[in-house]
Subunit: 389 residues, 2 copies
C-alpha cells in the first residue's frame, strides 16, 4: 500500500450552532490522506481536522509536514508487516528536522495529519479507532465513557435566555453535565449565567466554567472567591496558560476542582505545569487537546508523564468535543470526553443517532474514527476528496 495523495483545506468554524453569529474568525483545516488500498470497491481514505478553538494549519501542513510524508519511503511509514500505516513511525517522519521549543501551530499541523493517519490505520485494520489503540489503555476498555456537553459561549443578544435554551437542549439529548464560558463579562453577569445553567442541569456540581485564560492574577483570585460558594464541577483555563505562579495561587485558594492544560501543547510544557502549577492529583483536571499536542504520539507522552507522577488517567478530560477525542477517552481509559453537540459544526458532536444515557456514551462501531457515521462530517470530507456523499 502507499499514500497517493494528501489534501488539505481550511474552513471557518463557529462557536455557535447559528454560524452567522460572529465567532472570532476561528478556522480548522480538514485533511484527507488517500491510499491505494481498496476495500469492497471503496478506496481507503484517512480523514482528520485541526480540532477546534484555534486556527487551521494548511500553510504549515503544505510547507513542512505533508511533503515529509509524501517523500518518505513506505517502509518508513509502515508497521512490521508492511500492510498498514504505523502512525508512530509516520509521526517520527513528520518531526524530522524539527527544532526544540516553539510549541505552537506546528503541533496542530502535525496533530491534524496524525488524526487522519490513525483513521487510516484503524480503517485498514477494520476496527474502530478505540480498539486499534487499546494496547495503550487499560486491560479491559470500558464499553462506555462519561461525557459532558461543551458550549455556552456568550450570545451577542438575549445571552442568558439563549444560553439556558442551549443547556436545555443538551439536557434533552441526555447530557447530565454542561460547560459554559465565563471571564468575558463582569462577574455578576457570569454568576447569572452560571445560575441559569445550574438550574437546568439540576445540580451545580454538574456544571463547569471555562474562563478561556482571560483573568490576570487579581481577577483570577477574585473570581475564585466568588465561585467557591457555587459548588461547581470545575473552574477551567483561569489565567495565561504559562502563568503557573497565578495558577498555583488560585489552586491554593479554591476548594473545587481546577482544570488546566488546554493551551499547552507539548510534554515540555506539561512537565512545567506538573512542577509549578500547584495542581492536586486527586482533584484537578487535565484538558490537553490531543490534536493540538502533536497528535496521539505527543498526547501519549503527556499522559505517560502524569502516569509516572502518580496521577490516575481519570483526571484527563481532553478538550475537543468530537469523535477523535471520544475514541481516545475510551481507548486510553481517560476520565471522560467533552462533546460539542451544537457548536463547531460540522465536526463537533457524535455519530448520527448516538444515544447518551445517564451522561455516558460510546464511540461508533465503525472502522476508524467513524466520521462516516455523521452525515454533516461525511459530506464535508466527501467534498474535500471530490466525491458526492
Amino acid at each position: 500500500m502507499k499514500i497517493i495523495d494528501i489534501r488539505a483545506r481550511t474552513v471557518p468554524i463557529s462557536r455557535f450552532a447559528d454560524a452567522s453569529i460572529p465567532s472570532g474568525g476561528l478556522t480548522t483545516t480538514m485533511v484527507a490522506v488517500v491510499t491505494d488500498v481498496v476495500r469492497s470497491g471503496q478506496r481507503i481514505v484517512g480523514f482528520g481536522f485541526s480540532s477546534i478553538g484555534r486556527f487551521g494549519q494548511q500553510g504549515l501542513i503544505e510547507e513542512r509536514f505533508a511533503p515529509r510524508l509524501r517523500q518518505a519511503a513506505f517502509a518508513d511509514l509502515s508497521d512490521e508487516t508492511g500492510t498498514n500505516i504505523d502512525p508512530f513511525r509516520a509521526w517520527r517522519v513528520m518531526m524530522t528536522g524539527e527544532k526544540p521549543g516553539g510549541h505552537g501551530e506546528r503541533c496542530v499541523a502535525v496533530g491534524t495529519l496524525d488524526m487522519a493517519l490513525w483513521d487510516l490505520a484503524a480503517k485498514i485494520a477494520d476496527v474502530p479507532l478505540y480498539r486499534h489503540i487499546a494496547c495503550h489503555g487499560p486491560a479491559a476498555p470500558a464499553p462506555s465513557v462519561k461525557v459532558y456537553a461543551g458550549g455556552g459561549y456568550y450570545y451577542p443578544e438575549s445571552d442568558v435566555g439563549r444560553l439556558a435554551d442551549e443547556a436545555r437542549r443538551a439536557r434533552d439529548l441526555g447530557y447530565t453535565r454542561f460547560k459554559l464560558k465565563i471571564g468575558g463579562a463582569p462577574l455578576a453577569q457570569d454568576l447569572k449565567r452560571i445560575e441559569a445553567v445550574s438550574t437546568i442541569m439540576r445540580d451545580p456540581a454538574h456544571v463547569a466554567v471555562d474562563a478561556m485564560n482571560a483573568y490576570g492574577r487579581d481577577a483570577a483570585l477574585q473570581a475564585a472567591a466568588s465561585l467557591t460558594p457555587c459548588g461547581l464541577w470545575w473552574f477551567e483555563d483561569i489565567c495565561d496558560p504559562l502563568d503557573f505562579a497565578t495558577l498555583a495561587e488560585v489552586v491554593g485558594s479554591y476548594d473545587g476542582a481546577v482544570a488546566a492544560g488546554e493551551a499547552l501543547f507539548s510534554v515540555a510544557e506539561a512537565k512545567l505545569l506538573a512542577a509549578h502549577g500547584g495542581l492536586r492529583k486527586q482533584r484537578d483536571i487535565l484538558l490537553f487537546d490531543p490534536v493540538h499536542c502533536y497528535g496521539l504520539p505527543g498526547y501519549l507522552q503527556i499522559v505517560r508523564e502524569f502516569d509516572a507522577r502518580g496521577w490516575d488517567r481519570d483526571r484527563f478530560w481532553p478538550h475537543g468535543g468530537h469523535l477523535f477525542t471520544l475514541h481516545l477517552v475510551q481507548g486510553l481509559g481517560l476520565g471522560g470526553a467533552e462533546v460539542n453537540p451544537f457548536c463547531f459544526q460540522p465536526f463537533g458532536g457524535l455519530a448520527d443517532g448516538t444515544l447518551i444515557a445517564e451522561g455516558r456514551t460510546a464511540a461508533p462501531d465503525l472502522p476508524g474514527i467513524g466520521f462516516e457515521g455523521r452525515t454533516s462530517t461525511r459530506q464535508a470530507f466527501a467534498e474535500l476528496v471530490g466525491e458526492r456523499s
Copy 2:
C-alpha cells in the same frame, strides 16, 4: 500613505558559506511591504525576513497576519501624525484574535512582518533604524557596539581544519570573538574543535560554544564539567529550552557564563526562564531572537521583564547575526550582536565594506535597516518585488 502590497517568498538558507553542504532543510521567508510613498522617484518598500535557524512562515503570513494588515484602516496602523506607520499599532492589528499560549511559528510570522514594518517606518522617517528606536534605549546611544562572529557548524568532511579556516577568516575580518557548535559529536571531538578555534582567536575567553539544545541532563552536566577548565566565553543552549530544571542544575555546577533563550519566543516563557532557570544576572547571557519573539514589540516585553528584575541590558546578546539585530543592539543599548559573516546568506552579515575594529562595529548609516547597503541582500529583495537591482 497606505500599504498597497505585501509579498512573501520562502527560500532555503544554509548554515554554510558553501550552500551545497546539507544543512537541515532550514528556510526563511522574505517579505516586502510596499507603500504608495515615493521619495526621490523611488517607491518606499519595507523589507524583512524570518531571521535564521528555524523555518520560513509564508503559510501563516498569508493565512493570518498579512490579511489583517491589508484589511486594517490606515488609521489603525499609523502614528498620530498620520504620515508614518507605527509598528506597535500594526503589531496590535496583527495580534487581533490570537489566543493565549502556543508560542511557536506564529511568533516568527509576526516577527517577519514586523521587521519589514520597522524598515518601512525608519525609511519614511529617513533615519537608520537604530535611531528610529532610540527612545526605547539609553539616553546616549553608543556610536559602535561589540560583535562576534557566529558559525562554526560541523563540516561533513575535514571538520576541524575547515572550522579553523572559518575562524581564521573571521579573525582576518576583525572579529575578536567567535562562536562554534558543540553537542553533535563526542565530547573529545568537541574539545578538539574548541582548541582549534581558541588557538586562532588567541584566547579561549573569546570563544563561545553552542550546544543547540542537544544535551539531556546527564550529558549536560558531563559537558559542563569538561568545559569548565577551558575558560570559555559562554556555554549556550545546553538542554531543551523548556527544561529549566536541568538548566538550573548546570548553572549551579558551571563557573563560566551560560547563555539561554534562543528557543524561547514569548515574554511568558521569558518569565519562566527568569523564575526557574537559575540564571545569574551578573554573569549569564540572554539570547532571545527579536524576530522569533513576535518582533520588536514582543522583544521589548522581554527586555523590560528583565529590566524590572534588575538585569543590565548588557546581558542581552540577541541571536540572529544580521543587520536588524545589529540595529536593535545599538538602539536599545544591549550587550552586543552576533554577526554571521559567512553562513545564512544572503541575509547574514553586515553592509558591504563595514569595518570591524577591535571587535566592534556600527549599523549602516542608511535609512531603515540598510539592506540596500548589502549587495546580495538588496538583490534578493529586488527579485521579490520584481525589480532589477
